[in-house]
Structure formats: C-alpha cells, structure tokens
Chain length 255, copies 2
C-alpha cells in the first residue's frame, strides 16, 4: 500500500532508512531539447508516488527570481501531473524539507545555491531526508551539491558561502556539464581535465565528469551511470578513465 | 639618480607614494608563443630599475612545486637580466615583500593563490607596496588578485580561502582569459558573459573581460588597455561594450 502522508513517499513494509532514491543529472536541458524533456519518463517513474514536488530555486540561473524559476519548473512538472511548490514560499524551510514528498534542486550558480542552503539552515536537513528516502532530483548545481563538496563546480564565485562542504549523499564529487578538451582551440585557459587534476593536487575525493545527457541513478547504496554517454572518472594520481553507461559506480564509496 | 636599495626601485625626487606601476596581463602565454615572450619588451622597460624580481608562486598551475614554478620564471627573466627569487624561499614573506625591488605573481589557481596570500598574511602588505610604487606584474590569477575581489575568476574552487576580497589596487574586477561565446557550440553550460551577468545580479563592481594578448598598464592612477585586442566591459544593468586598445580606463574608478 502506498503511503503518501508524512515526510516522503515510501511503500509500506520498506524501511525508509535504507531507501536512498536520487536522480543526479549533468544538465536540465540537452542541446536542441526543452527543459527536462529528456528526463521526463524517468522522472514520472522516479516521483510516481508523489503528488507534489518541493522545488529549491536558490541557484537562480541568470539571477532570475525564485518565483519565475519555480513557475518554469511548475509548468514542466504539470506534464507528469505533479504540483510544485518553491522552498522560498515556506516560512519554515526546514519543516518544508522534512515534509516534502519529493525534492528537486535546479541548476544555476552553485556558490549561490550553497550559500542559500547554509543561510537558510537547510543543508543538514536536506542530507537527512535524502539519506532517509525522500526522492530527489538534481540538475547541474542541484547535482553538484549531492557530492562531498562543491569544489569541482564550473561556476563563478559570485557570492561567498560559509563552507564548500555539501550534502555528501554520494561518496564522490561531480563535475556536471563535463567538457572534453577541444583539440582545435587556441585558448590558453585551463581545460576541464587540468582543473580537476589541480583539485587532486590538494584533495583525494574521486571526481566524476558527467557529460550533458548523462545522469546517475542512486537506489539505496547502488549508484549507476545512465544515459547514452560515457562518463570520465578522475582519481588522484591515476590516469582518467571512461566509464560506459550502466556502469555500477558503487565501488567509489569503498576507495 | 637611480636608487635601488630599499623597498622599491624609484628615482630620486619622485614620490614613491604616488607611483603605482603595474602590468596586469590576461595570460602569461599567447597561443603559439612561449612563456611571457609577447610581454618581454614591455617587462624590460617596466622593471628596468630592478635587478631582482620577487616571484609569488602560490597559484601553482597544475599543482607543480613552488621551486619548479620559480625555476621556470627565473629562466625567462634571465633573458632581460633579472634574477628571480621565490617568495617561498624567505622565512619572513612579509619582509620579503616589503623589501622587493619588483614583484611578479604568476597564474594558476586563484583560490589557491588567495588562500596562500591570506595564510601567509601577505595580502595587506602586498597591496601596500603596490600602492606605494613597487613595480608589479600579474598574469592570469596574478592579475585577478589586483581587482576588488576574485569573484570573477574562471578557476575551480579547489581550496577554501578565508575571503574572496583581493588587493583592490585597481577599482574594478577582471575576468582574465576572457572568451567570447562560440555560436556553433552545443554545450549548455553558461557562457562567460552569462556568468559575469550572474555576478552582477549580486554585485555592482565593474568587470573587465581581458582577452589573451591584452594587458593593463597602470601608472599612478591612470589605467590603459594595451595589446592588439579590444576588451569587454561589463557594468551592472548595462549592455556589455567593447573597448579599443589604448582606451583609458581610469573612469572606472569614478563610477
């Protein structure tokens, strides 16, 4: 029997404590597509037991308002019969997260998102509910925060967060919108791979470069690469390697 | 008469207090060139009264050692008859900066550079000596720190600095390695212009996008764009505009 009341949509007999359930996507939008369209069938299944999604609009792409961002998400989720509320609409965001049936954190600027999560004192409770079974979708910045830290973001440090530590609901870091070096480029700025190598000069956390169109499916402690593309895994002091779609990434938690 | 002793190379009769003298370059290396080669004639003139350059290697591109980075710089500066010492070679870095005849801060990771400047307690003294006449060269990260803050860097936050505030020896922020949008790109990550616009959703500091091959020459309070290219100026709530080489940017301090 489906139980929708309370803090997450779980099934009777299942232990919410062991049912982590996350979709962690590189991007909300693939080239030529519309917002979230490539993920909608997956999301219909992922959130099937939820009527309402709590949207966290803190990353505010392009500095748009929380209301405008939430309206955009509401429109898309109506296609799979979900209503959407923005976290900024609640007087008590901690309680809103505790009570949410399902949660989506959208992309934008990761520094801004992380600062807002700390300023509103919801970082800890968000990790708690994800570890205890509330279905979650993250795209881009909203995916970045599922890692150990936000230190492999591509974003500009437009605000100063009180810490770079993030949710840690997966045992590694992500680099969303992963971009291969352009062999024809005359630009002398660092490639993405160089930047991640620099990260590993000072940190040991594994980093997964997740290309646009890829996502991770996390069920309990199992993490699987989804979508049509390979992903690029960076470990300290090792050559980067390509991982095929459907690779089980659970081993990254044991390194 | 040339006076080389003391804290900077000044000329008798000039007031060191009013002779800010900075070269602030987008990149150390232009495509097809060698390290600093396009700037060497300018640097020979800029540092003409200095025998020895103090090099700040803290940004450590690719995580290389301070010694290796300093050796690379030493080799290049030998072509214009300057000796080079690395700041990491001194027991007292504050005193080393106070006594330096000329200073060069190289590129790499801006987060790392800024953290090291704070950890070694040299951020304040570095601003002081630059404001009082010690000739300075910055490239990339070493240029970023001359602005009000490092918040328009392109770098990855591989370490957590205690603040994003930087030297403020110019009255605006820089985006080195400025990159124009690629009209043929299928990548959905933010363009550089979008990122700077996001910065301006939360900050009012002007931002100058400095393309590779461009640099600023600062003499006292006069700031002039040099090199063969235009630069792109971003002001909050205004359309970005292209500024021709030789444009006097001093007005940015009066906005």
């Amino acid at each position: 029997m489906l139980i929708k009341s309370g803090k997450s949509c779980t099934f009777e007999g299942e232990s919410a404590k062991t049912m982590k359930k996350l979709i962690i996507a590189s991007t909300s939008t693939v080239h030529g597509g519309k917002y979230l369209d490539y993920l909608l069938p997956t999301l219909a299944q992922h959130f099937k037991a939820c009527d309402e999604i709590l949207f966290i609009p803190y990353a505010r792409p392009g500095g748009i308002s929380h209301d405008d961002y939430t309206a955009k998400v509401r429109e898309v989720f109506s296609a799979i019969d979900k209503s959407v509320k923005g976290l900024h609409e609640f007087q008590n965001p901690v309680e809103a997260i505790r009570k949410a049936q399902g949660i989506f954190t959208g992309g934008g600027n990761t520094f801004l998102l992380v600062k807002q999560l700390y300023d509103n004192e919801v970082m800890t409770v968000l990790a708690e509910v994800l570890n205890h079974g509330t279905p979650y979708l993250g795209t881009s910045a909203g995916s970045n925060i599922t890692g150990i830290s936000m230190q492999t973001t591509n974003d500009m440090p437009i605000v100063y967060p009180p810490s770079f530590a993030t949710l840690g609901v997966i045992p590694f870091n992500l680099n969303p919108h992963y971009l291969d070096p352009d062999a024809n480029s005359t630009h002398m700025g660092e490639t993405r791979e160089t930047r991640i190598t620099e990260f590993h000069a000072f940190n040991t956390t594994p980093v997964l470069g997740l290309r646009e169109g890829s996502w991770l499916e996390v069920n309990n402690h199992t993490i699987v690469l989804k979508g049509p593309l390979t992903a690029r895994l960076f470990l300290p002091n090792k050559e980067a390697e390509e991982l095929a779609s459907e690779t089980d990434l659970t081993f990254l938690g044991t390194l």
